[in-house]
């Protein structure tokens, strides 16, 4: 298990280092093969990790801590305070940071998603990156390693370190291989997210110190800290302050409205592989941060401040970003804004703070990673063929590129949330979870689904089905998807369908962890007057809901 975890984390890094070391001594085009091999092996080890994880015995200490990784291993890092008494000072219990790695159901799914997107992003860069290939793929793999690290870090300092490490390779990806405004984009992206995470660091530092002074031996270990906070809840006022501070970095990273202003420029200017990573998994780091730190650590603050604040911001984000999407003429920008809108659903789901909402949020994280990444891939493929991404200049692609058009329609449907595809399950669970908590946010959020259908269908209508535009007729004949592109898209599309028809496969993996997090809130929910009887599935977990969900899916199918 440890070997597999280290392999998922270390293989991309080792490949990156190898690429950099032998940069000079290999033919230019070999780099991408090496990178692809590295990514494939990483994906295999991630798959193995998932299957090993599923064979682990069930956890039974849910009552102790809301976060309990099914597997963890801790390497000593730094002991800040010696455990033995120093003369002249009262004896303190030692306290330390450690390199604590582990996986739980949520992170194992995210690690697998990261590994899959790693392959796709290498394949899509195959022809488009001609310059400094070794460095490009090395940065990409380093980014992948950093993201994987966040998902398997169970120590706060390590979590923060990985969270920050991801900035560096993406910064270089944008700066060196980005579009024309890459300099501004790279700096804006970096400084903006760095600001946010420094505030997060302040919050984490004060939390760790609070625990350390109370005598927790390893105050930066996430499971230990969560257990301690569950047993000794913080003062509500302190909780609120810490919640807001810790959230700052995640709000920027997701991004939640109004902290999204760095995103369009970054997504537009980054090389396509960078955009895929940024939208597919980097954005999830923010959501994951909420899920891993804010929700288990500060239950009271989440209930009093979290729900109204995040609910409002997420709803505004969903509607605002959808309207922005509607107004875009550039498909990539349209997808970028739609990405903000869909992440709003994740936040809505998480801050429903009940089992189905959180399960929906996590599922939506996966779905969004798959469908947005696939959309960006398709946009890049269209751009490669027509040298434009402007909706007005494109049209009638269906007649020229049937396969690509078909995939685009399929993925758009998944993104819209057509029942039977993955988007539906995630959005449905998120919204119904939120409905049990606060119907208003759910109702307002649901308009985003309609708006989502509107802008994506409008885009499809113009690009795919409209009359063929002149410039696309006069341009050199274009060819449909080649094998490489199919390979990049296929895993994502297949998973979209798979999760759509059989979401239980993912839900089963994440269920124990979702339940242990939501158990913190279940008492509060039962007292909640708003609770609706038909959604009374908090204690029963997500399983009944899934079957309900499946029934509706099959109804639509028939």
């Amino acid at each position: 298990m440890l070997i597999l975890l280290l392999a998922s984390l270390g293989l991309p890094l080792i490949t990156a280092v190898l690429l950099l070391l032998f940069r000079g001594s290999m033919a230019a085009d070999n780099a991408r093969w090496i990178a692809l091999a590295g990514a494939l092996v990483t994906a295999c080890s991630a798959f193995a990790l998932l299957s090993e994880y599923q064979r682990l015995p069930a956890k039974n200490d849910i009552a102790v801590s809301p976060v309990n990784p099914g597997f963890e291993h801790s390497f000593p890092w730094i002991q800040l305070k010696p455990g033995t008494a120093v003369e002249g000072e009262p004896a303190t219990t030692g306290y330390s940071f450690s390199l604590q790695l582990g996986v739980d159901g949520i992170s194992v799914v995210m690690i697998l998603l990261t590994a899959l997107l790693g392959i796709s992003s290498i394949l899509i860069s195959w022809e488009s990156i001609k310059e400094r290939q070794a460095e490009f793929y090395a940065s990409l793999l380093a980014l992948q390693a950093g993201v994987t690290g966040v998902f398997c870090a169970f120590d706060l300092v390590l979590f923060y370190a990985f969270f920050e490490i991801t900035l560096i390779p993406l910064f270089f990806l944008i700066l060196v291989w980005g579009g024309t405004e890459r300099r501004a984009a790279a700096l804006k992206f970096f400084i903006y997210t760095f600001c946010g995470s420094v505030i997060t660091l302040l919050g984490l530092v004060s939390l760790v110190l609070h625990a350390a002074n109370a005598g927790v031996a390893n105050p930066s270990s996430i499971p230990a800290l969560a257990a301690w906070l569950k047993a000794n809840p913080l003062d509500p006022q302190l909780q609120t302050v810490l919640f807001l501070a810790v959230s700052a970095g995640f709000l920027v990273k997701v991004p939640v409205f109004p902290f999204h202003t760095w995103l369009p420029l970054t997504y537009m200017q980054a090389p396509i592989a960078g955009t895929i990573f940024a939208s597919g998994v980097l954005a999830k780091l923010g959501v994951y941060g909420f899920l891993r730190l804010c929700i288990p650590f500060f239950p009271e603050a989440c209930l009093t401040v979290g729900i109204p604040l995040m609910g409002t911001l997420a709803v505004i984000g969903v509607i605002y970003a959808s309207l922005c999407s509607l107004a875009q003429r550039d498909i990539q920008r349209l997808v970028a804004y739609s990405s903000i809108a869909h992440l709003g659903f994740c936040i809505i789901g998480l801050f429903a703070l009940n089992a189905e909402g959180i399960a929906g949020g996590v599922l939506q994280m996966v779905n969004h990673g798959l469908s947005t990444a696939a959309l960006f891939l398709l946009v890049a493929m269209i751009h490669e063929r027509y040298q434009t991404r402007n909706i007005d200049q494109l049209g009638g692609i269906a007649s020229q590129l049937p396969l690509l058009s078909c995939t685009l329609v399929f993925i758009s449907m998944a993104s819209i949330g057509l029942p039977g595809l993955n988007g539906f399950t995630g959005e449905f669970l998120s919204l119904s979870g939120m409905f049990a908590r606060h119907p208003v946010y759910a109702a307002l959020g649901a308009t985003g689904v309609i708006l989502g259908a509107w802008y994506l269908l409008t885009m499809l209508q113009h690009v795919i089905f409209g009359p063929a535009r002149k410039n696309s007729e006069t341009a050199a004949p274009v060819s449909d998807l080649n094998l490489r592109e199919v390979m990049a898209l296929a895993p994502l599309a297949v998973l979209c369908l798979w999760i759509g028809v059989y979401p239980k496969s993912v839900l089963d993996v994440i269920e124990p962890d979702v339940k242990s997090i939501s158990s913190l809130y279940s008492n509060a929910v039962q007292n909640d007057a708003v609770q609706q009887t038909q959604f009374n599935s908090d204690d029963a977990g997500v399983a009944p809901l899934v079957s309900h969900d499946l029934r509706s899916v099959s109804r639509v199918g028939n």
């Binding site: 940069r23 000593p76 890092w77 730094i78 002991q79 800040l80 305070k81 010696p82 120093v86 003369e87 002249g88 000072e89 009262p90 306290y95 460095e135 300092v157 923060y160 370190a161 990985f162 920050e164 490490i165 900035l167 560096i168 910064f171 270089f172 700066l175 060196v176 890459r182 300099r183 790279a186 700096l187 970096f190 400084i191 760095f194 600001c195 420094v198 505030i199 660091l201 302040l202 530092v205 004060s206 760790v208 110190l209 350390a212 002074n213």
Partner: protein
Amino acid sequence: MSAIERINAAAGLIVPEVILLATVCIMFLVGPFLVTEGGKTQTGLRHRWGALSLLAIVSALVAWWNTSIQPVDLSLFQADAFVWFVRGTTLSIGVILVLLLWNQIDDGQSAEAHACLLAILAGVNLTAAANDLAILFIGLELVSIPTYILLFIPKRDRLIREATAKYFLLSIFSAAIFLYGVAWLFGAAGTTNMLGISQAAQAGKFDQVPGLLLLAQVFLLAGLGFRLTLVPFHFYAPDVFQGSTSANAAMLSFIPKIAGMIGLFRLLPLTQGLVDWNGWVPSQPLQTVLATLAVLTMFGGNLLALRQKNLHRLLAYSSVAHAGYMLVGLTVGSSTGAANGMASVLFYLVIYGIMTLGAFAVLSGLGATGNPIRTDDQLAGLSRTRPLMAASLAVLLFSLTGLPPTAGLLGKLFIFLAAWNDGSTIGYTLAIVLAINATIAASYYLRLVVVMYFENPQGEQPEVAKQYPAWVASAGCVVMVVALFFIPQGLWDAALKAIH
């Protein structure tokens, strides 16, 4: 105990410094005989002197490793864990400084330059080992006086002369202020021995003259503030850095800082009657002064660095800002609890030394001997022409920013922990100001990375000069900066031990 025995006992406490100073004497005495009257020498003489310097430092390191920690008494020197820590730091950093100096001087002057550097290192150690105010002052002057010579030796252009003169005058001025503060302290206690001063304080002598001590604190802080480049005593730094060679600027960015920090560590608790620092927290007025200086220094250094085009000036302001970060740790003192301000300062000092010297090492490794890299334009396109150097500089700049996976993150984190753990308004304010400044600093460090990786190389590329010593130094710094992120325990333990 006879006088000779006492001298022997005292010398036994400073063996590493004796080794260094003996080498200095050899270099000063032999050096002139190897140069003809016309100033001609055998080519390559600098390699031999450099090797001798390294040998001396390595022998001093061996001697340092064998020293034992002894209780403080009334003798002239002491050998506590703090001295052990300082010696280790200075000597290890000294290796980097020797490597940097290696090719930055002409053969004819190499003996003097290396001798000055060794004397400076010995001076820093003596400052730490001093158990007497007079010795401490002598130690500080043993740092300053060779520095004037070292700065003037290259005498390539007008800028260097201006820089040296400026440093010389201001340094003497600050030494005078410092001495004035020492005089007040002596006046209050009636002795110059540190243990004696502490005993006098415990006997209640200080309570009779509270105003005197505040004056002493202010003057000491002002005098040492010059060395630490605290705002508003920082004005000389950018000009002097700009005028100096990379090696000298590197030396200036670290040596005066550690010397000044040692002074503050030894003297500020002493003005409160303490020789050991367990639980030492600056007295209320002193803490206010230190906190104000820290805030001014952080903001001053970082904001002024934003617009600099000259790399030495930029790094000078960056060194000002880093002095501010360290002052944060000193302000919260060594309160008992989860984190220790003074230990975090010592930890940061070492990390800071490695990363700043690494940055200077890259700069001197890039330039030819007579044609150093001066402005940020010269870094343009470095990632294409010299990818390895560009990557090294990027790592060091990320470390200065405080990003993982470099030790810079841990350095800032520990100061952060200490400041926040203080629990007072001052502690929280300082931690927040530190966070804001880390972000400001990120923008100018990143700008250099952007120049290296974004812009195209300009004009003709000069030939790659074979600056092996600087390359070795920069590679060593990069490795250390990353390694200390993963295995910081040893350094942290040493720092923590030095405080107790």
